[in-house]
Symmetry: C2
Subunit: 204 residues, 2 copies
Protein backbone atom coordinates (compact mmCIF):
# COMPACT_ATOMS: atom_id res chain seq x y z
CA UNK A 1 0.00 0.00 0.00
CA UNK A 2 0.97 3.59 -0.56
CA UNK A 3 1.63 5.98 2.32
CA UNK A 4 -0.61 8.98 2.85
CA UNK A 5 -0.56 11.27 -0.17
CA UNK A 6 1.81 9.14 -2.25
CA UNK A 7 0.92 7.60 -5.59
CA UNK A 8 4.35 6.12 -6.27
CA UNK A 9 6.55 3.76 -4.30
CA UNK A 10 9.62 4.95 -6.22
CA UNK A 11 8.95 8.51 -5.10
CA UNK A 12 8.31 7.41 -1.54
CA UNK A 13 11.58 5.48 -1.36
CA UNK A 14 13.57 8.40 -2.74
CA UNK A 15 11.92 10.75 -0.21
CA UNK A 16 12.76 8.30 2.62
CA UNK A 17 16.38 8.33 1.52
CA UNK A 18 16.66 12.11 1.22
CA UNK A 19 14.96 12.47 4.62
CA UNK A 20 17.76 10.37 6.17
CA UNK A 21 20.24 13.17 5.42
CA UNK A 22 21.09 15.38 8.43
CA UNK A 23 18.80 18.39 8.83
CA UNK A 24 16.36 17.27 6.12
CA UNK A 25 12.68 16.82 7.02
CA UNK A 26 10.10 15.04 4.88
CA UNK A 27 8.89 18.22 3.18
CA UNK A 28 12.41 19.19 2.10
CA UNK A 29 13.07 15.58 1.09
CA UNK A 30 10.05 15.67 -1.20
CA UNK A 31 11.30 18.92 -2.74
CA UNK A 32 14.69 17.28 -3.32
CA UNK A 33 13.18 14.16 -4.90
CA UNK A 34 10.98 16.23 -7.25
CA UNK A 35 13.97 18.45 -8.07
CA UNK A 36 15.97 15.32 -8.96
CA UNK A 37 13.16 14.18 -11.27
CA UNK A 38 13.36 17.47 -13.18
CA UNK A 39 17.11 17.19 -13.81
CA UNK A 40 18.58 15.64 -16.98
CA UNK A 41 19.58 11.99 -16.54
CA UNK A 42 23.32 12.83 -16.75
CA UNK A 43 23.06 15.20 -13.78
CA UNK A 44 21.26 12.62 -11.67
CA UNK A 45 23.90 10.02 -12.52
CA UNK A 46 26.65 12.53 -11.76
CA UNK A 47 25.10 13.22 -8.36
CA UNK A 48 24.97 9.50 -7.54
CA UNK A 49 28.50 8.82 -8.73
CA UNK A 50 29.89 11.82 -6.79
CA UNK A 51 29.10 10.37 -3.39
CA UNK A 52 29.66 6.74 -4.41
CA UNK A 53 33.18 7.82 -5.47
CA UNK A 54 33.57 9.74 -2.22
CA UNK A 55 32.56 6.70 -0.17
CA UNK A 56 34.77 4.22 -2.02
CA UNK A 57 37.74 6.43 -2.91
CA UNK A 58 38.50 8.68 0.03
CA UNK A 59 41.34 7.96 2.45
CA UNK A 60 42.45 9.28 5.80
CA UNK A 61 45.89 10.90 5.77
CA UNK A 62 48.29 8.44 7.42
CA UNK A 63 49.92 11.32 9.28
CA UNK A 64 47.12 13.61 10.50
CA UNK A 65 43.92 11.61 9.76
CA UNK A 66 42.43 14.40 7.65
CA UNK A 67 40.34 13.31 4.65
CA UNK A 68 42.48 13.00 1.55
CA UNK A 69 42.50 11.55 -1.98
CA UNK A 70 46.13 10.51 -1.49
CA UNK A 71 47.85 8.50 1.32
CA UNK A 72 49.33 11.72 2.73
CA UNK A 73 47.05 14.78 2.62
CA UNK A 74 47.97 17.98 0.74
CA UNK A 75 48.54 19.82 4.05
CA UNK A 76 51.05 17.28 5.42
CA UNK A 77 52.80 17.01 2.05
CA UNK A 78 53.09 20.79 1.62
CA UNK A 79 56.73 21.77 2.22
CA UNK A 80 55.83 25.44 2.61
CA UNK A 81 53.97 24.72 5.85
CA UNK A 82 55.51 24.70 9.30
CA UNK A 83 56.00 21.00 10.15
CA UNK A 84 57.06 21.69 13.77
CA UNK A 85 53.59 22.71 14.97
CA UNK A 86 50.52 20.49 15.26
CA UNK A 87 47.00 21.79 15.85
CA UNK A 88 44.82 19.11 17.47
CA UNK A 89 41.15 19.20 16.44
CA UNK A 90 38.10 17.03 16.87
CA UNK A 91 36.92 16.71 13.29
CA UNK A 92 37.57 17.19 9.60
CA UNK A 93 35.25 20.19 9.66
CA UNK A 94 37.40 21.93 12.28
CA UNK A 95 40.43 21.63 9.97
CA UNK A 96 38.40 23.20 7.18
CA UNK A 97 37.23 26.03 9.45
CA UNK A 98 40.76 26.84 10.59
CA UNK A 99 42.10 26.59 7.03
CA UNK A 100 39.45 29.08 5.97
CA UNK A 101 40.83 31.67 8.41
CA UNK A 102 44.17 31.59 6.53
CA UNK A 103 45.84 32.36 9.89
CA UNK A 104 47.54 29.02 10.46
CA UNK A 105 50.34 27.44 8.48
CA UNK A 106 51.26 24.43 10.65
CA UNK A 107 49.97 20.86 10.47
CA UNK A 108 46.90 19.25 12.05
CA UNK A 109 45.91 16.14 13.92
CA UNK A 110 42.27 15.01 13.65
CA UNK A 111 41.18 13.06 16.74
CA UNK A 112 37.95 11.80 15.21
CA UNK A 113 35.94 12.85 18.27
CA UNK A 114 36.45 13.68 21.93
CA UNK A 115 36.57 11.55 25.05
CA UNK A 116 32.97 10.96 26.12
CA UNK A 117 32.24 8.38 28.80
CA UNK A 118 28.51 9.03 28.26
CA UNK A 119 28.77 7.88 24.65
CA UNK A 120 31.32 5.19 25.44
CA UNK A 121 34.16 6.96 23.60
CA UNK A 122 37.52 6.46 25.32
CA UNK A 123 41.06 7.59 24.36
CA UNK A 124 41.65 4.37 22.39
CA UNK A 125 38.68 5.10 20.11
CA UNK A 126 40.40 8.31 19.00
CA UNK A 127 43.77 8.94 17.33
CA UNK A 128 45.39 10.12 20.61
CA UNK A 129 48.03 7.36 20.66
CA UNK A 130 48.94 8.24 17.08
CA UNK A 131 49.31 11.90 18.13
CA UNK A 132 51.64 10.95 20.98
CA UNK A 133 53.76 8.80 18.62
CA UNK A 134 53.92 11.68 16.16
CA UNK A 135 55.18 14.06 18.86
CA UNK A 136 57.64 11.52 20.30
CA UNK A 137 59.06 10.86 16.81
CA UNK A 138 60.62 14.34 17.17
CA UNK A 139 60.75 17.55 15.17
CA UNK A 140 57.66 19.00 16.91
CA UNK A 141 58.00 22.22 18.89
CA UNK A 142 54.40 23.05 19.72
CA UNK A 143 51.04 21.31 20.04
CA UNK A 144 48.00 23.62 19.90
CA UNK A 145 44.86 22.14 21.44
CA UNK A 146 41.81 23.44 19.56
CA UNK A 147 39.04 21.31 21.06
CA UNK A 148 35.55 22.40 21.95
CA UNK A 149 34.88 23.90 25.37
CA UNK A 150 32.70 22.01 27.79
CA UNK A 151 33.52 19.13 30.09
CA UNK A 152 34.31 16.59 27.39
CA UNK A 153 36.56 18.90 25.41
CA UNK A 154 38.40 20.02 28.56
CA UNK A 155 38.80 16.40 29.68
CA UNK A 156 40.28 15.44 26.32
CA UNK A 157 42.63 18.44 26.35
CA UNK A 158 43.75 17.59 29.88
CA UNK A 159 44.29 13.92 28.97
CA UNK A 160 46.46 14.87 25.99
CA UNK A 161 48.32 17.46 28.09
CA UNK A 162 49.22 14.82 30.69
CA UNK A 163 50.37 12.37 28.00
CA UNK A 164 52.60 14.97 26.33
CA UNK A 165 53.83 16.81 29.44
CA UNK A 166 57.00 14.70 29.71
CA UNK A 167 58.07 15.33 26.10
CA UNK A 168 58.93 18.96 26.85
CA UNK A 169 57.03 20.13 23.76
CA UNK A 170 55.20 23.46 24.23
CA UNK A 171 51.45 22.88 24.65
CA UNK A 172 48.98 25.70 24.07
CA UNK A 173 45.25 26.11 23.59
CA UNK A 174 43.40 28.53 21.34
CA UNK A 175 42.30 31.79 22.95
CA UNK A 176 38.83 31.95 24.48
CA UNK A 177 37.06 35.27 24.66
CA UNK A 178 34.19 37.36 23.40
CA UNK A 179 33.78 36.91 19.64
CA UNK A 180 33.98 39.78 17.18
CA UNK A 181 30.51 41.26 16.78
CA UNK A 182 29.22 39.61 19.97
CA UNK A 183 27.45 41.80 22.52
CA UNK A 184 29.03 41.76 25.99
CA UNK A 185 25.63 41.50 27.64
CA UNK A 186 24.89 38.24 25.84
CA UNK A 187 28.25 36.59 26.51
CA UNK A 188 28.07 33.87 29.16
CA UNK A 189 29.87 34.46 32.47
CA UNK A 190 32.58 31.88 31.86
CA UNK A 191 33.52 33.35 28.50
CA UNK A 192 33.41 36.93 29.74
CA UNK A 193 35.38 36.04 32.89
CA UNK A 194 38.04 34.29 30.82
CA UNK A 195 38.15 37.24 28.40
CA UNK A 196 38.89 39.66 31.28
CA UNK A 197 41.42 37.34 32.88
CA UNK A 198 43.29 36.92 29.59
CA UNK A 199 43.15 40.61 28.64
CA UNK A 200 45.80 41.73 26.20
CA UNK A 201 47.80 44.95 25.67
CA UNK A 202 45.81 47.37 23.56
CA UNK A 203 47.19 47.69 20.04
CA UNK A 204 46.51 50.48 17.55
Amino acid sequence: MYSKGYTSKLLEEAVDQFASLPGVGRKSALRMALHTLKQPKENVEKFASSFLALKSGIKYCSNCYMLSDTPVCPICSNRMRNHSIICVVESVRDVMSIENTEQYSGLYHVLGGIISPMEGIGPDDLTINELIERVKAGGIEEVVLALSTGIEGETTSFYIFRKLESTGVRISTIARGVGFGDDLEYADELTLGRAIENRQAFKI
Copy 2:
Protein backbone atom coordinates in the same frame (compact mmCIF):
# COMPACT_ATOMS: atom_id res chain seq x y z
CA MET B 1 44.26 22.86 -7.03
CA TYR B 2 42.05 22.43 -3.99
CA SER B 3 39.47 25.03 -3.03
CA LYS B 4 39.78 26.93 0.23
CA GLY B 5 39.77 24.58 3.20
CA TYR B 6 39.47 21.37 1.15
CA THR B 7 42.07 18.60 1.14
CA SER B 8 40.11 16.24 -1.12
CA LYS B 9 38.68 16.68 -4.61
CA LEU B 10 36.30 13.78 -4.03
CA LEU B 11 34.85 15.56 -0.99
CA GLU B 12 34.65 18.84 -2.86
CA GLU B 13 32.76 17.27 -5.77
CA ALA B 14 30.29 15.55 -3.45
CA VAL B 15 29.71 18.86 -1.62
CA ASP B 16 29.14 20.63 -4.96
CA GLN B 17 26.52 18.03 -5.85
CA PHE B 18 24.71 18.17 -2.51
CA ALA B 19 24.76 21.98 -2.68
CA SER B 20 22.87 21.78 -6.00
CA LEU B 21 19.81 20.41 -4.16
CA PRO B 22 17.08 23.00 -3.45
CA GLY B 23 17.49 24.80 -0.11
CA VAL B 24 20.93 23.35 0.60
CA GLY B 25 23.85 25.74 1.18
CA ARG B 26 27.52 24.78 1.20
CA LYS B 27 27.68 24.25 4.96
CA SER B 28 24.72 21.85 4.94
CA ALA B 29 26.14 20.15 1.84
CA LEU B 30 29.40 19.52 3.70
CA ARG B 31 27.46 18.04 6.61
CA MET B 32 25.59 15.77 4.18
CA ALA B 33 28.78 14.62 2.45
CA LEU B 34 30.47 13.83 5.79
CA HIS B 35 27.31 12.05 6.97
CA THR B 36 27.37 9.94 3.79
CA LEU B 37 31.00 9.02 4.49
CA LYS B 38 30.04 7.70 7.92
CA GLN B 39 27.30 5.41 6.58
CA PRO B 40 27.87 1.74 5.70
CA LYS B 41 28.53 1.18 1.99
CA GLU B 42 25.16 -0.57 1.48
CA ASN B 43 23.27 2.49 2.74
CA VAL B 44 25.16 4.80 0.41
CA GLU B 45 24.46 2.51 -2.54
CA LYS B 46 20.81 2.29 -1.53
CA PHE B 47 20.59 6.08 -1.44
CA ALA B 48 22.09 6.34 -4.93
CA SER B 49 19.89 3.60 -6.40
CA SER B 50 16.73 5.10 -4.84
CA PHE B 51 16.84 8.26 -6.91
CA LEU B 52 18.36 6.62 -9.99
CA ALA B 53 15.36 4.25 -9.94
CA LEU B 54 13.03 7.22 -9.41
CA LYS B 55 14.52 9.04 -12.40
CA SER B 56 14.45 6.07 -14.76
CA GLY B 57 11.32 4.27 -13.56
CA ILE B 58 8.68 6.84 -12.75
CA LYS B 59 5.82 7.59 -15.14
CA TYR B 60 3.14 10.23 -15.43
CA CYS B 61 -0.40 8.90 -15.18
CA SER B 62 -1.87 8.92 -18.70
CA ASN B 63 -5.16 10.23 -17.30
CA CYS B 64 -4.30 12.90 -14.70
CA TYR B 65 -0.50 13.40 -15.13
CA MET B 66 0.24 12.61 -11.48
CA LEU B 67 3.49 10.73 -10.77
CA SER B 68 2.93 7.00 -10.81
CA ASP B 69 4.77 3.68 -10.99
CA THR B 70 2.08 2.35 -13.32
CA PRO B 71 0.60 3.76 -16.58
CA VAL B 72 -2.55 4.77 -14.68
CA CYS B 73 -2.02 6.12 -11.16
CA PRO B 74 -3.56 4.51 -8.04
CA ILE B 75 -5.98 7.43 -7.67
CA CYS B 76 -7.39 7.17 -11.21
CA SER B 77 -7.54 3.37 -10.98
CA ASN B 78 -9.35 3.42 -7.62
CA ARG B 79 -12.99 2.44 -8.21
CA MET B 80 -14.00 3.71 -4.77
CA ARG B 81 -13.28 7.29 -5.77
CA ASN B 82 -15.73 9.66 -7.41
CA HIS B 83 -14.79 9.67 -11.10
CA SER B 84 -17.23 12.47 -12.00
CA ILE B 85 -15.24 15.25 -10.28
CA ILE B 86 -11.81 16.55 -11.28
CA CYS B 87 -9.69 18.83 -9.10
CA VAL B 88 -7.26 20.86 -11.24
CA VAL B 89 -3.90 21.61 -9.57
CA GLU B 90 -0.58 23.07 -10.59
CA SER B 91 1.79 20.39 -9.33
CA VAL B 92 2.33 16.89 -7.96
CA ARG B 93 2.88 18.39 -4.50
CA ASP B 94 -0.57 19.99 -4.55
CA VAL B 95 -2.15 16.57 -5.14
CA MET B 96 -0.21 15.20 -2.15
CA SER B 97 -1.28 18.15 0.04
CA ILE B 98 -4.96 17.70 -0.83
CA GLU B 99 -4.72 13.91 -0.38
CA ASN B 100 -3.27 14.51 3.08
CA THR B 101 -6.41 16.42 4.11
CA GLU B 102 -8.48 13.24 3.48
CA GLN B 103 -11.36 15.58 2.54
CA TYR B 104 -11.47 14.84 -1.19
CA SER B 105 -12.39 11.64 -2.93
CA GLY B 106 -12.55 12.70 -6.59
CA LEU B 107 -9.86 12.63 -9.26
CA TYR B 108 -7.16 15.17 -10.12
CA HIS B 109 -5.61 16.82 -13.13
CA VAL B 110 -2.02 18.05 -12.78
CA LEU B 111 -1.34 21.00 -15.12
CA GLY B 112 2.43 20.91 -14.65
CA GLY B 113 2.59 24.66 -13.97
CA ILE B 114 0.49 27.79 -14.58
CA ILE B 115 0.26 30.17 -17.49
CA SER B 116 3.12 32.63 -17.09
CA PRO B 117 3.94 34.98 -19.98
CA MET B 118 6.93 36.25 -17.95
CA GLU B 119 8.48 32.79 -17.93
CA GLY B 120 7.27 31.98 -21.45
CA ILE B 121 4.79 29.33 -20.28
CA GLY B 122 1.66 29.26 -22.43
CA PRO B 123 -1.43 27.01 -22.32
CA ASP B 124 0.19 24.52 -24.74
CA ASP B 125 3.12 23.95 -22.36
CA LEU B 126 0.67 22.66 -19.76
CA THR B 127 -1.84 19.78 -19.84
CA ILE B 128 -4.82 22.12 -20.38
CA ASN B 129 -5.80 20.59 -23.74
CA GLU B 130 -5.71 17.14 -22.15
CA LEU B 131 -8.01 18.42 -19.37
CA ILE B 132 -10.50 19.76 -21.91
CA GLU B 133 -10.46 16.45 -23.79
CA ARG B 134 -11.04 14.59 -20.52
CA VAL B 135 -14.07 16.76 -19.73
CA LYS B 136 -15.46 16.57 -23.27
CA ALA B 137 -15.13 12.78 -23.22
CA GLY B 138 -18.09 12.86 -20.81
CA GLY B 139 -18.92 11.52 -17.38
CA ILE B 140 -17.62 14.63 -15.59
CA GLU B 141 -20.03 16.67 -13.46
CA GLU B 142 -17.71 19.14 -11.75
CA VAL B 143 -14.27 20.66 -12.24
CA VAL B 144 -12.72 22.23 -9.10
CA LEU B 145 -10.01 24.79 -9.83
CA ALA B 146 -7.43 24.69 -7.02
CA LEU B 147 -4.71 26.93 -8.45
CA SER B 148 -2.61 29.43 -6.55
CA THR B 149 -3.92 32.94 -6.07
CA GLY B 150 -2.15 35.81 -7.77
CA ILE B 151 -2.34 37.08 -11.33
CA GLU B 152 -0.93 33.96 -12.99
CA GLY B 153 -3.14 31.54 -11.10
CA GLU B 154 -6.24 33.67 -11.73
CA THR B 155 -5.35 33.96 -15.43
CA THR B 156 -4.97 30.20 -15.72
CA SER B 157 -8.27 29.61 -13.87
CA PHE B 158 -10.03 32.09 -16.13
CA TYR B 159 -8.53 30.52 -19.28
CA ILE B 160 -9.72 27.05 -18.23
CA PHE B 161 -13.14 28.47 -17.25
CA ARG B 162 -13.58 29.97 -20.73
CA LYS B 163 -12.53 26.75 -22.43
CA LEU B 164 -14.94 24.63 -20.37
CA GLU B 165 -17.85 27.10 -20.16
CA SER B 166 -19.64 25.62 -23.20
CA THR B 167 -19.53 22.05 -21.85
CA GLY B 168 -22.12 22.82 -19.16
CA VAL B 169 -20.00 21.13 -16.50
CA ARG B 170 -20.11 22.82 -13.08
CA ILE B 171 -16.89 24.79 -12.45
CA SER B 172 -15.91 25.77 -8.90
CA THR B 173 -12.84 27.09 -7.10
CA ILE B 174 -11.61 26.25 -3.61
CA ALA B 175 -12.69 28.65 -0.85
CA ARG B 176 -10.39 31.54 0.02
CA GLY B 177 -10.43 32.91 3.54
CA VAL B 178 -8.53 33.37 6.75
CA GLY B 179 -6.72 30.14 7.64
CA PHE B 180 -7.33 28.27 10.89
CA GLY B 181 -4.95 29.62 13.52
CA ASP B 182 -4.17 32.79 11.52
CA ASP B 183 -4.50 36.14 13.25
CA LEU B 184 -6.94 38.53 11.61
CA GLU B 185 -4.55 41.44 12.04
CA TYR B 186 -1.91 39.67 9.93
CA ALA B 187 -4.24 38.55 7.14
CA ASP B 188 -3.81 40.60 3.96
CA GLU B 189 -6.68 42.87 2.84
CA LEU B 190 -7.61 40.79 -0.19
CA THR B 191 -7.92 37.59 1.85
CA LEU B 192 -9.79 39.27 4.68
CA GLY B 193 -12.10 41.09 2.24
CA ARG B 194 -12.88 37.83 0.45
CA ALA B 195 -13.47 36.08 3.77
CA ILE B 196 -16.08 38.67 4.78
CA GLU B 197 -17.72 38.65 1.36
CA ASN B 198 -18.00 34.85 1.38
CA ARG B 199 -19.19 34.62 4.99
CA GLN B 200 -21.09 31.47 5.85
CA ALA B 201 -23.95 30.59 8.20
CA PHE B 202 -22.65 29.95 11.70
CA LYS B 203 -22.74 26.25 12.57
CA ILE B 204 -22.56 24.74 16.03
